[in-house]
Symmetry: C2
Subunit: 528 residues, 2 copies
């Protein structure tokens, strides 16, 4: 399959006319052919208008067809074959095994949302029967959730498949009955075109309304802002920088009709090493930490960038072991030249800070956009005096803070910003302290984990990849896992609607066998 | 019980030191004793600090105690007795029967949320079992929802009990495990003090953590803005004007940590009279419409202020019958002098519009803040040329628009802003047109009803009192009914948490008998 530098607008593939841009190989620092035409204002308008037209017919389709469409996307992505992995490797510097794993994750995510659609729990079907003899009489009331409308999805640089054109935001929007307009990330345009064409083929194969999916190339400041400002767009899914996410939040809030923005932005994912865990497993813990810190060259949203522990010889041993493990890690190629530069400035900033010592470094920086991992150590006073230490430096760098006592550590936990994850390493005898930490951490983070590492985000029903600001723009949701569909739904109540006009989900005979809340009691399947 | 002009801050009752204000009797245009001291910045600070301290201990209490607290509030409100109704009548101009009904609604609402807490569906308890043999292994993942944190609740003028100090926002926040700081509405300070003291007594009786509830007097522009800007406050519930609601939205979005605002603001609640419904029941329909329009002097959020129908003799007959019914309605006292003035300017604005005819008026304006109902009629062109006709005039005024054909009517439906409700009156032979309207209306409104009137909002599980902007600030939610609790919750995922540290809702033996999503399948009760 050729990569032509074309965008997807409904059933058409076409070249954007507003300038062009190239893919870039961060390992060789060379541009990649072909040139990708960037979207004009008219292209944005056309994609949004088609999405708007597609909304009613798409959401009216039987759930089974929606589920089948998601599965067809998964099949079409697999059908692209090795070309997809090769192009993604060139554009991202990520290794083959990682990208093959990510493709499988993307495909499984689409299949999970097909199941979510078929199960229909997300509909929250609710029936309150009429009570004609009550004074005043109660009408017949039925609730279901429907899609918000067309969603603008922004591809992320760090997961060119799983958080991009057909990633979690797209899968959950389509599952919710919402058409999608993707702004592809400029870091992997060829990968995006291949996936965009796969989605388009699935839409045609499944006879979906035109406009259910479009994909545009362009800059966040122009095409991205136009998309978020377009009246047809009713919600936004974004994974990226805090600067980018907050810019979209401002645009969305300033519209004549404000819309929700789901931006997953930044997190340092604090890790708490409690005394008996440190004592029991210092060296193993250190290796696990360093593996997590350097996985994917530290370019995970859940990368552990901040470590809190009580000072002492067990911690010193941990730092020594971590330093040794880190030194054995070769420098890895980062996703883009911009990310590589930002990482190098970030660690230069750390290097200049008073009271922060460089405790360990990874293997020397190599060719291209390769980055050297780094671990810094400081005392509580230096940490508390430098609020910037809680700002994420995207990449394989972490700061370890030594506290003198439990109260100081708890106060620092309380002072944390919102995070995607918080990790506690604790042995049995740490449970009293862990029990005091837990209520704090669940206020701070979307996921709290014990005796593990935060990288590796399972795509399942109980996953929360979210958290209070500034980790995300909206702590009430998750961008990974089955509940991600809830972001794109709103409830509608139907009062005394004639049976022939009722949506199937709410009809008395419950032909879809949905779980329903019937007069206040949850019933799994069966008729009303 | 004396009304002392005091605020509630935790377990204290005290007089605000930042000036004073009086209640006002809109029927007599006289101030009411006593003076109410207004909150200073320190008072706001103290209430917020106590709420923050109360959050962890309050949400950690067993669900049963939370439910019992809500029931105790209901009992304490009833125990205030006739004094509450008398004071509310004086402050609101509303009649005794309406306020007694509203008190019962308030009490039932608290009891509904006690049931919601006990049922525990809102927790969305989810368990994904560990899969240690999978490659890579899946960790044990468990999700529950917890409260967002302290909530600022703004009392509304038009429901001095049901949407005020212990109204739906307060009940659903407390049910979610969130402490509440109420800014009482200046239109009913005495009613607010009586209810605030009732809540305080319930909190003491149930041994709740101090700070779970406070109530302040003050202006929206000062105390209200301070509250919404306070770092301890994590969400806002508001019912009132679009101007007030959007001001809070701006403040909340501009915080260093933006927070959600649930503002229920304005709606003209369009009503569609389809041909065979008009033909079959014109006069009855006209009477029902006029009753709904003038109920509570038109001061309901769901007041039907806009009527769409096809021109013809059946519609003419409807307008004549409505005119007759309207003339028989006496003028009613509005809630405040400000609302009364705004209503009179609103109908003066209508009166000056080209192409808008005054078709009928209610009984003549009487003493005090009494308002005369009004029905205006215009053609589609005049309506489409005056976008201001879709702006709510709060009170008993409506505009009826005559369309020439179905397509024109459908286009006007498509052009509507977000609404709380949309009503269709349709006979059997209107169902084809109704089926075309329905997908449009469910995109526009939180509740779609057939052959009824939108006033009268049932407090039940399937109710949605919400809708797209500008009806509310957040279409994903409802401010009435059991789902209102969802506004104040966020999901947290627990990964590999030791059993002894797991919250009860997620422990294997499911001691609370909660419905849980277990490995993707919904189980009602029983152990994992």
């Amino acid at each position: 399959m050729s990569i032509l530098g074309e965008m997807i607008i409904g059933r058409a593939c076409l070249r954007g006319s507003a300038g062009q841009a190239f893919g870039y190989n961060p390992a060789t620092r060379a541009d990649l052919e072909p040139a990708f035409g960037q979207a004009s204002g008219d292209d944005v308008e056309r994609a949004c208008a088609l999405a708007q037209q597609a909304f009613d017919p798409y959401r009216a389709l039987p759930l089974e067809r929606r589920a089948r469409f998601l599965e067809a996307i998964a099949e079409q992505i697999l059908a692209v074959g090795p070309q997809l992995i090769e192009r993604a490797m060139q554009e991202s510097g990520l290794p083959q095994a990682r990208l093959e794993g990510e493709r499988m994750r993307t495909v499984n995510q689409l299949r999970l949302f097909a199941k979510v659609v078929r199960d229909g729990y997300f509909i929250d079907a609710t029936v309150d029967s009429a009570l004609p003899d009550r004074a005043p009489p109660r009408p017949d009331l039925r609730l279901r959730k429907i899609g918000l409308g067309p969603v603008a999805v922004f591809g992320a640089s760090n997961f060119p498949l799983a958080f991009s054109v057909a990633g979690g935001d797209t899968a959950s929007s389509l599952a919710a009955g919402c058409p999608v307009v993707v702004k592809a990330h400029g870091a992997h345009p060829g990968t995006s075109e291949l996936v965009g064409r796969a989605v388009q083929r699935a839409a045609i194969e499944c006879d979906m309304p035109e406009g259910v999916f479009s994909m545009l190339f362009g800059d966040g400041r122009t095409v991205g802002q136009q998309l978020v400002g377009h009246p047809a767009i009713k919600a936004v899914g974004f994974t990226g920088s805090r600067q980018g996410g907050t810019a979209l939040m401002r645009t969305a809030a300033a519209r004549s009709e404000p819309i929700p923005v789901y931006a997953e932005m930044s997190s340092v994912n604090p890790m708490f090493l409690l005394p008996s865990a440190l004592q029991a497993g210092g060296a193993t813990l250190a290796q696990g930490f360093v593996d997590s810190l350097t996985l994917g060259v530290g370019q995970f949203c859940t990368n552990p960038g901040l470590v809190f522990a009580l000072a002492g010889s067990d911690l010193d041993a941990f730092v020594s072991a971590a330093a040794e493990a880190l030194a054995a890690k070769a420098a890895g190629t980062m996703l883009t030249a911009g990310i590589h530069e930002a990482y190098n400035s970030g660690i230069a900033r750390f290097g200049a800070l008073d009271g922060l010592q460089l405790a360990a470094q990874g293997g020397e920086q190599g060719q291209g956009c390769a980055a050297r991992a780094a671990l810094y150590v400081c005392d509580a006073d230096a940490y508390l005096g430098n609020p910037a230490l809680e700002d994420e430096v995207f990449g394989p760098a972490a700061v370890l803070v030594r506290f003198t006592d439990e109260e100081q550590l708890l106060r620092a936990a309380e002072a944390l910003h919102g995070q995607l994850t918080a990790t506690v390493h604790a042995g049995e005898s740490d449970h009293a302290l862990a029990a005091r930490l837990l209520p704090v951490l669940e206020r701070k983070a979307g996921r709290v984990l014990f005796n593990g590492f935060p990288t590796g985000v399972e795509v399942s029903h109980a996953m929360v990849h979210g958290g209070p600001f500034p980790a995300t723009s909206d702590s009430r949701t998750t961008s990974v896992g089955a509940s991600a569909i809830d972001r794109f739904l709103r409830p509608v109540c139907y009062q005394n609607i004639p049976a022939s006009l009722l949506p199937q989900e709410l009809s008395d005979d419950n032909p879809l066998g949905l779980a329903r809340l019937l007069d206040g009691t949850l019933k799994v399947g069966g008729a009303a």
